[in-house]
Symmetry: C2
Subunit: 338 residues, 2 copies
């Protein structure tokens, strides 16, 4: 990282909240967004930390989001809690429905949250980690915009479609992953273009569907999913689960809805939750030991668990009481307050 600025942990929320309320978000929205950004920044998850304030403000400027609307949780006696974000940012809706999701999971053993009509910009891991912090396993999926070609295709149909999962470990940070099913981020390709460098192999196709390492040809064509036809199948599953299953948009439809406006995409989100107590017939402790043997065997051979670096960053930043962000970003953020 270039020159950095220290931001005290106690100042993270305040800085974000001031920027967001000035931009047009209500206190309630600004609060949940700030909480998410701080959570990510404390883990040195820079791409989804304070940096995203720029995108939040851009989303507001694009004019489609409602920064003040309150989500509505639908009454439900099933194992599904549906929450309508009503054209606001997703986070307040998720926060409103999360207690019901946890309650329903403890009651039925398995439950789901469907979030509709939300703008979405955030990492999924903080949401599934709310579930693992409650002793539940969690899985989350969202579509995005159709920049990614299916295996064998030549144009964008699928989103970057992340999948996140968190597993509760007793007295430890959870096992968590959160990855895009695209092989790379769109922003990365733009960085290669600006640097005049060729892309790695296998990341993109040109407009004819041929593999390309030319960043401009890739932007004119499409990104690819990770892992070939398997990653492509997984990405289609995420479109279906977080789109048509829950009566919400696919990445294609979300892209159409945006009409070229920048900012966060508008679509739905699905979160699944699993109660180990129910599933294991009450044998959670034995099975925690079993899972720990699996993790130990992975670590013992020199491999890492996903999120390990993030948890190390969290411990370090909490212990020293501040995070470091690029000086340029800090200047840009202060600019948003003028």
């Amino acid at each position: 990282m270039d020159e950095t600025i220290r931001v005290g942990l106690e100042d993270l929320n305040g800085l974000s909240t001031r920027i967001l309320t000035k931009s047009g978000f209500s206190d309630a929205h600004a609060g949940t967004i700030s909480e998410m950004l701080s959570t990510c920044q404390i883990d040195d998850c820079h791409s989804h930390g304070l940096f995203r304030l720029l995108m939040c403000c851009q989303t507001m400027k694009a004019g489609k989001i409602d920064g003040r609307v309150l989500p509505v949780v639908a009454p439900s006696d099933s194992a599904i809690v549906r929450v309508d974000a009503r054209g606001g940012m997703s986070l307040l809706a998720v926060a409103a429905a999360m207690p019901q999701l946890i309650e329903k999971t403890r009651k039925h053993g398995i439950a789901a949250m469907a979030v509709n009509r939300c703008f979405h910009f955030s990492a999924l891991w903080p949401e599934v980690e709310q579930l693992s912090a409650a002793g539940l396993a969690g899985m989350a999926m969202v579509p995005s915009h159709s920049w990614v070609a299916p295996a064998g295709g030549k144009r964008g149909t699928l989103g970057t479609n992340p999948l996140a999962f968190s597993w509760p470990r007793q007295n430890q940070t959870p096992f968590t992953f959160d990855f895009a099913t695209s092989g790379s981020a769109r922003g990365e390709i733009e960085l290669y273009l600006r640097a005049g460098k060729p892309l790695p192999e296998g990341v993109a196709v040109d407009a004819k569907g041929n593999p390309t390492t030319d960043p401009q040809a890739a932007l004119d064509g499409a990104m690819l999913t990770f892992g070939g036809y398997k990653g492509s199948a997984l990405s289609i599953m995420i479109e279906l689960m977080a789109g048509p299953l829950i009566d919400d948009l696919t990445s294609l439809e979300s892209m159409e809805f945006a009409e070229g406006a920048g900012g966060a995409p508008y679509h739905g989100e699905i979160i699944l939750a699993f109660d180990p107590e129910h599933f294991s017939g009450g044998r959670v402790a034995d099975n925690d030991t079993r899972a720990e043997r699996l993790f130990a065997d992975i670590l013992d051979q020199g491999a890492r668990l996903p999120s390990q670096r993030r948890f190390e960053a969290r411990a370090r930043n909490i212990s020293r009481g501040y995070v470091e962000i690029p000086a340029g970003l800090y200047a840009d953020l202060l600019g948003l307050l003028n």
Copy 2:
């Protein structure tokens, strides 16, 4: 394929059942296994069709399986149906609990089946396609034996850990995939060894964890997951979901249990089911149209949907009334009847 033999569709079940009952399976087990093998064979899914009769008989000879035991479905008022296969093959247990899984999914919107203490050899797609045939979406996962290294590792910890998903399309074959999270099948590596050919890149590591294309070094080392660290994370999720979550074995523990005996691995299985009616708030038809636009956009650019070849084979074989299997396999199968 080399020389082939035609087997009439009406003879598929009978041939399998005779072989299985002679091997020691009860009529009930032989019936569900034969049904599965025929379903796969009719789709030209050769690796999981009649060929697997050899493995079923080998599993019986290995002496750990109970070929006659009846599964027990635990009473449940939650959204989880747990079925204990009691050391028998998985299929009879899945068949016993499937009606409850469907009923619970229609009642709660989301439900799950946990199958415990089963031997498992079969493709997962026929099970998730039972759900999509009932208008539900389905997802299934199993561990296997620990032949697959985690990303950054050098020895087997994970199984080939397949993930299957099926989505109901109105008046059409469903959208289904079923793939191993390992980059290749173990049998493929053995074929390269016998042929004296180098492996493709990125499939395996040697015992020191270095990439190798030498088949023997790969067998002494470990296979890799598909898709690098993302595929590895997904494979670990499958270990947890189909192992410790449901109080059953990881791939490491399943390998230990087998004590080198051949045949099908012994472990658990998890099947998740989702009711589009509940999740979409009753807007299934609209969302079917939405999903079809997604599929059309994939097909329109010359890409294929997963399972398309299989559905084409199904239509062809049903229309002509027979399947073709290798003559050598047919001879081997007749040998099992002597």
